[in-house]
């Protein structure tokens, strides 16, 4: 499946989503409350990608979720 997607991205580079898009997609698929806050996910993706270039969309979701928690 990934090979099909990689081949598709080579032919159609505009179809490749960035980490923020993928985090939003992951949140949508999960019905995560943050799916309705794409800007928060984009901010989290930017922060995570800066320090962890190999981060996954689920890493972004976790980070965004942690940031949304009220400080103890």
């Amino acid at each position: 499946m990934q090979a099909a997607l990689d081949d598709h991205y080579r032919r159609h580079p505009q179809a490749r989503a960035d980490l923020a898009d993928l985090a939003i997609a992951a949140a949508e698929l999960d019905g995560h409350p943050l799916a309705g806050q794409p800007e928060r996910l984009r901010q989290a993706a930017a922060e995570v990608a800066g320090n962890h270039p190999g981060a996954s969309p689920d890493d972004v979701l976790l980070w965004a979720e942690a940031r949304a928690l009220p400080a103890a």
């Binding site: 997607l5 992951a26 949508e28």
Partner: protein, 137 residues
């Protein structure tokens, strides 16, 4: 936890056509599924065959080469699901394809069911009492 992702007609159209305005969005969903499969998450994408007919997805046609490679399984309209779908259609008035989606939803035993659709209202109608996650495209 097991997860099922069901596609509707427009999601399929968007997936097939790189020029479709929702293409990147639906490809993003497929990418997340692919990444999770690689991590051995129990997640499956399915397409009710009635939706495949409505979308014109001929698995033997080169025009559908990309979607064909995404391991999106057919969910056939067998006798039992046809009866369920007919009941949904009679109760709700949604289309035959959406009724088949409803039958797939209602017969699924997955922990989470997500429908990628351009018509969230009809999907919720078709799902009946079953709890679903709707991704509006």
């Amino acid at each position: 936890m097991t997860r099922l992702v069901v596609l509707d007609n427009e999601a399929v159209q968007a997936l097939r056509d790189p020029g479709h305005r929702k293409h990147r969005h639906v490809v993003s969903q497929a990418q997340v599924v692919a990444s999770r499969k690689r991590r051995a998450v129990a997640i499956q994408m399915v397409l009710p065959t009635t939706v495949r007919v409505e979308a014109g997805w001929d698995r033997t046609s080169p025009a559908w080469a990309f979607p064909n490679r995404l391991r999106i399984a057919d969910s056939p309209l067998d006798a039992a699901s046809a009866s369920t779908a007919a009941g949904i259609r009679a109760r709700t008035g949604v289309s035959a394809a959406d009724s088949h989606i409803g039958a797939v939803i209602q017969s699924a035993h997955h922990d989470q069911i997500t429908v990628v659709t351009s018509d969230p209202g009809d999907m919720r109608l078709a799902a009946g009492d079953k709890i679903i996650t709707v991704v509006a495209i």
